[in-house]
């Protein structure tokens, strides 16, 4: 029993006595001074001998004391276990039995039901009453247990996607007979009537004291969607004829990527006083075929879900005949009977094979088509591999051809004998053959064979080891009529007669249509009845749980076809999606004509709602408040003792700084972003040369100064007018803005990250050029004998670099602006390396240059330390000496000329190379 003050109960009220100790604590805290700070201070000598005026220390200020008091009080109150809305009503005694309908109708309100159960169990636990539970949809013998034992099992109590069946009700009634006398029965009802509930009420009333807890939430259900006249009709029903209400129906399905998403929605209106509302949904057939389920928005129950199956979709069947273009009688046309059979249930595609394949039809029918072109064959094989159904009909052309004669053709299920055979004709012995009954493993098993179906001609299969497995229908003499083989994910079916009535009377009979249905060439419209499904076994693919969610059902046993339609739902017959061969059938919770009735109770049975006021323990909040106050106390104490403000105090200052940082953390990122944009605009506004930042400030400065010098040279001498060069950070900067990247090598620069290498490779492939400069006068000859050379090898290994060669004498680089023989920088090394010329480049008589590679070399390797030779200070004076005297200045001039040629080469590509053709052009112009 709880101790209650002002509507707040305390589970441990004696702890509240601790509040009396607060005044004592107040005095104690006032008496104890704050701890001293130790400070280093050389001027301490001047302080020696100074006495404090008062012997009383700085007092702790009253507000800080108050804060601490409140914190302590909050701790005491919190530990005393305060509870808001405590349950104070007195509970009865004796065992309690909870009867739960636990059907789909209560699934939407199940969270409330669980909460209610929790609260009721807590109450029963406090009163020490044994508790048992029984779900009417899964009745078991009631076991009276401790309430706490049941509380752990509430999460496992879930609604089932069916209503209690007569069997289950009988079981529950007999179980009710056996419970101890004086048991209080609390029936948690879903509010929907079902068969046999009256007997159950009677049994419960005779067994004990019955109370009913019933959800006030209206149960809604969705009847199976029907597809008629091009529209999907969705009907929603409710138990009570209440006020008018709008309900939204959602059509869920997979998009082409296979992701489940909302495809369409429609709103149905219940008129006031009506229990039924319906809405028509008109969708394109492509979209319609994708629908996997309809559900009511906001309803989490199996009854509010209608699964889509084959009934919703019309299959697309492509019909292709071999005798296209031949004149003939309509009734002899090879496709006439197929069209007649398929038209009501399937969309027929006509056209050339290669034209219809991209539409990805469900089935392709080849009527007497013997040979296919190689392209058609490949495409068709691929389509069958992906799950297509290829249905072939025999005919004179197939019989006359050599297809699948000696070897089995991939698109034929069997090998064929030459010529076929004819029985029962005017010129042959014997009578027309009839069909043999279908075997049990045949997809046609269960179909009745009309007497008058006879076959006069057929193509004959060669006896093969695999033949017996592939025959799914045969004639009375045992010769195969229909053969089939699997090919990849799909199958190839051959019907050994023609698709018209020339060779047999099969296309004239109803059996033909049924066989097409069984082969899933066409799909049945409307819901099939039990007779249609005779002889088939359907395996569950996905089944619904009580909340309307689909779960995997591969562990469940198969169901007989007639059962699937007629049997009542229960543990053995779950609602869900069932499959047989290629056909899919949905069993929904509701039947097409089912209605819902509200549950009614005898007048003397008390009925309550599910609502209750939840107990709210406040202890956690109070303890949290105490923690917050103590944290504030820490800061306040630091501030008071001068540790937060004095500049030498690190801890407090750091905390304050940290808080500031958190507040302003967003700003630097934004600033950086803006900076990146500015850089991009700068780099794209004008031509900008770039150099890779190596991390060595000296090298980077020289590279920057070098490119500046080169830019100035370009500006003065050519029409290229570059802006100030940029240092490029490979990790963060965009490379695409720079036509040329100068990359000086230092032995200790870090290797770029993988992302940076990806960027570099993209840059190289998209027309950028990188000039690698080992700056070691090429002494290593790109071997590993210099640290820069070794580093270059490491750096360049992950790059996408074409084969290289030393610059040939007739390379475009030698003449893009100046005519050059060598390429000196600060050093005058021997050679530089560029992408090698194609092997077939040959010099042509009378032309000074070979017609070399068409593109621009993506990389140039050298070691002449060009940047140092180009480098100028801000006033344009050379930064570093080159060589000695006039010869050195000449070398610097040549270095600049090389730089000019380099930039020209990058910008104009092989333009100068085309000069090779100038003599020829001149020749032509001058005739």
């Amino acid at each position: 029993m709880m101790f209650t003050i002002l509507g707040i109960g305390f589970t441990a009220p004696w702890l509240l006595l601790g509040l009396a100790a607060l005044p004592v604590l107040w005095l104690l805290l006032r008496a104890v001074p704050p701890a001293p700070i130790r400070r280093m201070f050389p001027g301490v000598t001047l302080l020696l001998g100074l006495k404090d005026d008062e012997q009383v220390t700085d007092r702790t200020p009253w507000w800080l004391l108050l804060m601490r008091m409140i914190a302590v009080a909050a701790v005491i109150l919190g530990l005393a276990g305060p509870v808001l809305n405590p349950k104070t009503e007195t509970a009865g005694s004796g065992p309690v039995l909870f009867l739960l309908d636990a059907s789909w109708a209560g699934a939407s309100a199940w969270a409330r039901t669980s909460d209610l159960l929790e609260q009721q169990l807590a109450e029963a636990g406090r009163a020490g009453r044994p508790v048992a539970m029984m779900r009417l949809t899964q009745p078991e013998e009631p076991q009276f247990q401790n309430a706490t034992a049941w509380r752990t099992r509430i999460a496992g109590l879930l609604p089932e996607p069916w209503q209690p069946s007569p069997d289950q009700i009988a079981m529950a009634s007999s179980a009710l007979d056996g419970i101890p006398a004086g048991t209080e029965i609390r029936w948690i009802s879903d509010g929907v009537d079902y068969e046999g509930r009256d007997e159950l009420i009677a049994a419960a009333r005779s067994a004990g004291d019955l109370r009913v807890l019933q959800s006030t939430r209206e149960a809604l259900a969705l009847r199976p969607a029907t597809f008629e006249d091009g529209v999907i009709r969705l009907t929603i029903i409710r138990a009570t004829a209440g006020p008018s209400r709008e309900v939204t129906v959602l059509a869920q399905g997979r998009d082409p990527a296979g992701t489940e998403r909302l495809l369409a929605s429609a709103t149905a209106d219940f008129a006031a006083g009506e229990t039924e509302a319906s809405v028509d949904l008109s969708l394109p057939s492509e979209l319609r075929a994708r629908i996997t389920r309809f559900e009511l928005q906001g309803q989490r129950s199996a009854g509010a879900v209608s699964l889509g199956d084959d009934g919703l979709r019309r299959r697309e069947v492509a019909l292709i005949a071999g005798r296209e273009g031949h004149e003939g009688l309509e009734l002899l046309a090879p496709l006439h009977y197929l069209e007649q059979a398929l038209e009501p249930t399937a969309d027929i595609l006509n056209g050339a094979l290669l034209d219809v394949l991209p539409a990805n039809p469900d089935a392709i029918v080849l009527a007497d088509v013997a040979t296919l072109s190689a392209a058609e064959e490949d495409a068709l094989t691929e389509w069958v591999d992906d799950g297509g159904l290829l249905l072939r009909f025999a005919g004179p052309r197939l019989a006359a051809s050599d297809v699948s004669r000696s070897d089995e053709h991939p698109l034929m299920p069997v090998r064929l004998r030459a010529g076929g055979r004819s029985v029962g004709g005017a010129m042959s012995w014997g009578s027309p053959k009839e069909l043999a009954p279908f075997k049990e493993d045949s997809p046609f098993f269960g179909l009745t064979i009309p007497e008058d179906v006879t076959v006069t001609s057929q193509v004959m299969a060669q006896p093969d080891p695999t033949l017996a497995d592939r025959v799914i229908a045969s004639l009375s003499d045992g010769t195969p009529l229909v053969t089939r083989k699997a090919l990849g994910g799909g199958q190839v079916v051959l019907i050994h007669v023609t698709a018209n009535a020339e060779w047999s009377s099969l296309p004239l009979s109803g059996l033909f249509v049924e066989m097409l249905e069984r082969l899933a060439v066409s799909s049945a419209t409307g819901s099939p009845d039990a007779a249609d499904l005779e002889g088939t076994v359907w395996t569950p693919v996905r089944v619904l749980d009580g909340f309307g969610l689909l779960e995997d059902a591969t562990t469940l046993p198969g169901v007989e076809g007639p059962e699937l339609v007629s049997a009542q739902l229960g543990p053995d017959m779950r609602p869900g999606l069932y499959q047989n061969e290629d056909r899919r059938l949905a069993r929904n919770v509701l039947r097409p004509d089912e209605t819902l009735q509200p549950a009614t109770w005898p007048a003397d049975v008390p009925v309550e709602g599910l609502g209750f006021e939840r107990e709210r323990p406040l202890g956690g909040w109070l303890l949290g408040l105490a923690l917050l106050l103590l944290a504030a106390d820490v800061i306040a104490t630091l501030a008071l003792s001068g540790r937060l403000t004095a500049s030498r105090a690190r801890s407090g200052g750091a905390a304050a700084l940290l808080a500031l940082c958190l507040l302003t953390a967003a700003d630097p990122a934004q600033a950086q972003e803006a900076e990146t944009d500015d850089l991009a605009i700068l780099a794209t506004d004008e031509l900008v040369l770039g150099h890779v930042l190596t991390g060595d400030p000296e090298v980077d400065d020289i590279a920057q100064a070098g490119l500046r010098g080169l830019s100035d040279t370009l500006y003065f001498r050519t029409s290229v007018e570059p802006a100030t060069p940029h240092g490029v950070d490979l990790e963060t900067d965009e490379l695409a803005f720079y036509p040329l990247l100068y990359w000086p090598i230092t032995p200790d620069q870090p290797l770029p990250s993988d992302e940076a290498y990806a960027k570099l490779n993209t840059y190289l492939r998209s027309g950028g050029m990188i000039v690698f400069d080992t700056r070691d006068a090429h002494i290593a000859n790109f071997g590993t004998s210099s640290p820069n050379g070794r580093k270059l090898q490491q750096l360049a290994a992950p790059l996408d670099i074409p084969p290289l060669e030393p610059v040939p004498d007739d390379h475009v680089l030698t003449r893009t602006f100046y005519l050059l023989q060598d390429y000196p920088g600060r050093h005058n090394g021997r050679s530089i390396w560029v992408e090698s010329a194609p092997a077939d480049a040959e010099s042509v008589e009378g032309m000074p240059f070979r017609n070399l590679n068409d593109g621009v070399t993506p990389v140039i390797f050298g070691g002449n330390d060009w940047a140092a030779a180009w480098a100028t200070d801000a006033e344009g004076r050379p930064l570093l000496p080159v060589g000695r005297g006039f010869a050195g200045e000449r070398q610097r001039e040549l270095a600049h000329r090389f730089g000019v040629n380099l930039v020209m080469y990058v910008l104009t590509g092989n333009y100068k190379s085309d000069q090779v053709h100038v003599p020829a052009l001149l020749d032509r112009l001058g005739q």
């Binding site: 700070i37 201070f41 000598t45 302080l47 404090d52 700085d58 001068g642």
Partner: protein, 290 residues
């Protein structure tokens, strides 16, 4: 700790901004060494001595353009040395100097050594002889002396408050004492009176941290000297402020009286002010002399 080379580098940088410092030559006879006096050495004087090529560290205004215009090289005109003077430095190496109230401020020791060495550089450039008080490093001339000074400066003493070194003072020389002067005052008095007895005049430069000048403390505090040898605990540091400042002022008064009687000069420098201003003051003080 500042290494000897960086200390010298910084000192050169400070000294580079001033024209050479020439201590006034008074008490001529006492400090000029006989053999060095005369016309064989460059120095301050009115007579031409020699042209020498410009060296690093020479101010541009020293360049003799008439001579330099005759060739590619630039020359400095040197005059005959007439008087060289000995200047003795004492820079406090006590633990109390190794204190800075904030990370952004240099320690007092850093600043004291910098100023000491900068003055030494100026003096050496002016041709004076610079050394330390005591027997460790007697005054000598030449740039090597700067290196030795820098090396001596980079040593620390263990004591909290080091007393001024007053042994082996050369009579009639000049002296420069740099310290915080927070230690026992008797030692300072002894050193100054002894110096006055020998005719040594000079400059006291007191270097203080801003916190020592302002005493911005509150609350219950235990103050400790840097070496940890002296403690003082107070319950209300804020109450002590006025009395601390009074005592500081009293000490400064006393020091000024002492310097007046002994013919010295006294200056104050806070570490949050620029070193340049302190060096300027030192320069004028040493130049003014007594």
């Amino acid at each position: 700790m500042t290494s000897a080379s960086t200390l010298r580098h910084k000192a050169e940088a400070e000294a580079g901004r001033l024209p050479p410092l020439l201590a006034r030559a008074d008490h001529l006879a006492g400090t000029v060494l006989l053999g060095d006096h005369g016309r064989r050495r460059a120095g301050l004087g009115d007579d031409f001595w020699q042209y020498r090529p410009v060296q690093q560290g020479d101010s541009r205004r020293l360049i003799d353009h008439r001579r330099s215009a005759r060739g590619d090289q630039q020359f400095v005109r040197e005059r005959e040395w007439q008087i060289a003077q000995s200047v003795m430095l004492w820079v406090d190496r006590g633990a109390s100097m190794r204190f800075a109230s904030d990370d952004s401020l240099p320690t007092k020791a850093d600043r004291a050594r910098l100023l000491g060495l900068a003055s030494a550089v100026l003096l050496v450039r002016g041709g004076e002889r610079v050394g330390l008080t005591g027997t460790n490093l007697p005054p000598r001339r030449g740039r090597n002396q700067i290196l030795r000074l820098a090396e001596m400066f980079s040593e620390d003493a263990e004591d909290d408050y080091a007393p001024p070194e007053h042994r082996a003072m050369i009579p009639h020389a000049r002296a420069l004492f740099i310290s915080d002067f927070l230690g026992p005052m008797e030692e300072v008095e002894v050193a100054l009176t002894k110096a006055a007895d020998r005719g040594v005049r000079g400059v006291l430069l007191q270097i203080l941290d801003p916190s020592e000048e302002e005493f911005p403390f509150r609350g219950r505090t235990i103050f400790e000297s840097v070496g940890g040898s002296i403690h003082h605990e107070t319950l209300k540091a804020g109450e002590l402020r006025q009395r601390y400042l009074d005592r500081l002022a009293a000490r400064r008064d006393w020091m000024e009286r002492l310097t007046r009687t002994t013919g010295w000069q006294m200056g104050l420098h806070l570490t949050n002010n620029s070193a340049q201003s302190a060096l300027l003051w030192l320069w004028t003080a040493l130049n003014r002399g007594a």
